[in-house]
């Protein structure tokens, strides 16, 4: 498992990097808009109603954005947790722990693809 993870490290790290970018920059802004600014009336909620958002999300680019926002943070989380585990001295169990974490991210990503296609 470790050998496989080692082979795939560049892509895993790439997904992790993308996930960190989305998790650190895009999602907080999104949460601020839909969770705070719109409900409190600071900005108008009209552009955020179902029809608008659905129109946006079902556009091919919207689907890609949805997919990236749903799937990439899973890889960021899995990779981060794996490294925290390693920093606590878990090298001998890295294959198992990393394998399980990445499997969860993979399953989540497949579900995100299915959801993005069926939007």
């Amino acid at each position: 498992m470790r050998t496989l993870m080692l082979k795939l490290e560049p892509i895993i790290w790439g997904l992790f990097g993308g996930g960190m970018f989305i998790g650190a920059l895009v999602l907080p802004a999104w949460l601020l808009v839909v969770g705070v600014l719109a409900p409190t009336g600071i900005i108008s909620a009209t552009p955020l109603d179902f029809d608008h958002i659905y129109g946006l999300a079902s556009h091919p680019i919207g689907r890609l954005v949805f997919l990236a926002a749903a799937a990439l943070p899973l890889w960021a989380g899995a990779h981060q947790l794996r490294h925290i585990f390693l920093d606590f001295g878990g090298l001998s169990r890295d294959g198992l722990v990393g394998g399980v974490l990445y499997a969860i991210a993979l399953v989540g990503s497949v579900l995100a693809v299915v959801a993005a296609v069926n939007l």
Partner: protein
């Protein structure tokens, strides 16, 4: 004349011929205001206990040989002021290295890691014949200059949590050095180095604790180099699908 102030220096001692485990020894010595930590050790060695072993050479933060753990943190002892510490100063060898004696650590494994990243300009002569004189602009120099300021003092290895868990990890200084050559426009060794960077214990073992950059006495940012090297490897790896690597 007023009595000189004193400090108690608690030194970790280890004699492989006698000791099973390291022990500490305390020396209370008169100190000067302008002393560096190294001055205290040299005073002990010259005036109190000649059996104390520690490494140093230049006394000006250039040779990189005087790295030790001072009050739990990796420091360059010729650069660190003794006045920054209280009445008791604990000095131990650098962490994450085998101890040879007292404050002296084994360098061999560290040097091997350096050799692994091919720290030289690959194909310098061959390229000079084909391409003529090497020209390098200021901007091109700036791509790697800070990474060439490393003095191999090993503080970053002592601070790195990954080095302590994964002894085979190439480590901050070696990766920063390899990256320095990858960034050098005169060099043609990227592909070879990136393969080494992708091996077990390569760049992707780094968990970005950033401790290396925190402790570096020369302001090098090894963790920045490692993250850049990771990105270069992702790009390189992705390119491998489009352009097959010529071997």
């Amino acid at each position: 004349m007023a009595e000189k102030p004193t400090k108690t220096i608690v030194v970790t001692r280890f004699d492989p011929d006698v000791d099973e485990v390291p022990k500490t020894q305390e020396y209370t010595i008169p100190v000067e205001d302008d002393w560096k930590v190294l001055d205290a050790l040299n005073y002990i060695k010259d005036e109190v206990d000649p059996s104390l072993s520690h490494r140093w050479s230049c006394r000006m933060a250039v040779c990189g040989s005087c790295g030790m753990t001072v009050n739990g943190e990796p420091k360059l002892t010729c650069k660190q002021s003794l006045a920054d510490y209280g009445d008791r100063v604990e000095i131990a060898p650098l962490a994450n290295f085998p101890v040879v004696r007292d404050l002296v650590v084994e360098l061999e494994g560290f040097m091997d890691k350096f050799k692994k990243v091919k720290p030289w300009i690959v194909e310098a002569k061959e390229a000079a014949v084909v391409e003529g004189t090497n020209r390098q602009s200021h901007e091109e120099l700036m791509d790697f200059k800070q990474f060439s300021m490393c003095i191999n003092c090993m503080l970053c290895y002592s601070a790195c949590p990954v080095v302590s868990n994964e002894p085979d990890f190439l480590g901050p200084a070696a990766i920063a050095l390899g990256h320095r050559y990858n960034q050098d426009n005169r060099d043609h060794g990227d592909a070879e180095r990136n393969e080494i960077f992708r091996e077990d214990g390569g760049v992707f073992s780094c968990s970005y604790a950033n401790e290396c950059a925190e402790v570096c006495p020369k302001g090098v940012d090894p963790s920045g180099a490692i993250q850049q090297a990771k990105l270069n490897n992702v790009v390189d790896w992705a390119k491998g699908f489009v352009v097959p690597r010529g071997k």
